[in-house]
Amino acid sequence: MISVQHLHFGYRKKPVFNDLSLELQPGFIYGLLGKNGTGKSTLLRNIAGLLFPREGQIRVLGLDPGNRTPAFLQEVFMVPEEFHMPDVPLEHLEKHYAPFYPRFNREQFRKYISEFNIPIEGSLQNMSYGQKKKVLISLGLATNTSVLLMDEPTNGLDIMSKSQFRKVMAGALNENKCVIISTHQVKDLENLIDRITIIDEGKILFDQTIDNISRKLSFQISYDAEEINAAIYHESSLRGSAIICANTEGEEGKIDLELLYKAIVTNQAKVQSVFNA
């Protein structure tokens, strides 16, 4: 569905991607993780056709995003970190956006709006940043585009809204849709994403499905010094040490995304060796 081949991209004096390749399939929610300034948003903008590759190519549903044709744009919706929404009533927003997206579903839009506790009679003019973001997320989901790109979607959402977001997102995926969520708030994506892709210094540092991670790694709290020392990664906490070790017993447990992220960023080779074995 999304094919990134040998992508080279950089801003004037700062190279961001150097020969990045990536394949993304429909039916999955991809979590794009990485430190600030590693190119998560830049990758999303390249996929959306807002930035053009300097070298290499990107294809989304077989189309070149850089052409920004209506056929492409009606299949891609982006929720940017910083966004703009017109100051219009929600009913007008729905009325004027719906005809541009062939699979726009008004019932779905109203359902998501209602799940986010926003009155449909309201106007964007009187809404807070968080409320506007929830409207944008609802709009993005209701368009039913094949590709949904979300850049830090939980920024600006309160605690309740974050759990509403996870609930709404979990119910919105289907086999024809590819969702890419870029964030550095990994906790917000727990139990939501199907695949983790970590970018660092313009390269893919780690790219595995959640199922594979559960099969290969085990996340535990340990008090055993020997076990802690033998772990792939360990971190002291008030309740002992949080550790990641190779899953030798075959039981699939819960993944601590934050711990995994830290392990990969600090010692990628050690984590990767488990997956290569």
Binding site: R45, A48, G49, L50, L51, F52, R68, T69, P70, A71, L73, Q74, V76, F77, M78, P80, E82, F83, H84, M85, P86, D87, V88, H92, K95, H96, Y97, P99, F100, Y101
Partner: protein, 282 residues
């Protein structure tokens, strides 16, 4: 569906644009009307109740049109100046051409019609007020003729006599469209302070052109000067003003240059705007 221009999608885009901007546009029209009222009111007070003659109405119309039209042109694609707005604008499912034509429809065509309507809505009562004030201020002046409402679109330069350019008002309007199109291009080129930067750019172009004409072209030409048009040159032989000859290029060159100046600049700038718009990144 056509990926370059689809009429149905275009009409939907026009409706969406109106829905999102109507408050701004209506307030803008009210502000324009207010400024025109203020200006005419100021003239009536300063002139002590004199009539508002045609030349003053023409001047007011074109000065207001040039100022507000070019300013509006310079913010026509202001969405592209801010990251979030630009993203929202560029990723919206309509083609570049549809977005450009929608912008031109509002910024060029509808603005021109709306400005002209607002002008007459203010002009007619104010000219009539000026006439009645004059009549009441000078009751004994039997020969005074009331000021007439000017026809912006049809006013010969030399009344009753055919001149080289029988309708200068239309020429002004065409010139206005050409200059405004430069400001529209500026709105895509310069993300910030577009009006000021475009004005400076146009002044620089004019300055470079003047330097080229005066410092490079003029020394290469014999004594004399342009005569009636750019394509005719009057040469004084041996600095004798009584012996002169006129060198003219074929008439089609004059016609071509005149056509370019009148009709081609605006579309050329719009086309450049289109390509600039297509390659916009955010």
């Amino acid at each position: 569906m056509n990926q370059v221009f689809d009429f149905k999608r275009f009409t939907l885009l026009v409706a969406k644009h109106w829905n999102e901007n109507r408050k701004k546009y209506l307030l803008g029209l009210v502000a324009m009307a207010g400024l025109l009222f203020f200006w005419y009111g100021f003239m009536l007070i300063v002139d002590g109740g004199q009539r508002i003659f045609e030349n003053m109405q023409v001047m007011t119309y074109f000065f207001g049109l040039a100022l507000t039209g070019c300013f509006y042109g310079s913010i026509l694609f202001a969405e592209l100046s801010s990251g979030p707005k630009a993203m929202n604008y560029l990723i919206f499912p309509a083609s570049h051409l549809e977005k450009l034509v929608c912008g031109l429809l509002y910024g060029v065509v509808l603005f021109f019609i709306a400005y002209t309507l607002v002008f007459y809505i203010v002009d007619i009562p104010m000219v009539m007020l000026g006439n009645s004030l004059h009549k009441s201020n000078y009751p004994g002046e039997v020969v005074s003729k009331p000021a007439e409402i000017v026809n912006i679109f049809w006013k010969p330069l030399t009344e009753g006599r055919p001149g080289p350019n029988p309708n200068p008002h239309v020429l002004f309007i065409l010139m206005y469209f050409a200059v405004q199109s430069a400001y529209i291009l500026g709105s895509v080129y310069f993300p910030k302070f577009s009006f000021i930067k475009t004005t400076i750019s146009l002044l620089l172009v004019a300055l470079l052109l003047s330097l080229y004409m005066g410092k490079i072209l003029q020394p290469m030409l014999p004594d004399g000067g342009h005569y009636q048009s750019f394509t005719s040159f009057r040469v004084f032989e041996n600095n004798d003003f009584n012996h002169q000859k006129i060198v003219s290029l074929p008439e089609w060159t004059t016609d071509t240059i005149a056509f370019l100046l009148k009709f081609a600049f605006a579309p050329i700038f719009w086309v450049v705007t289109y390509f600039r718009f297509k390659e916009k990144e955010v």
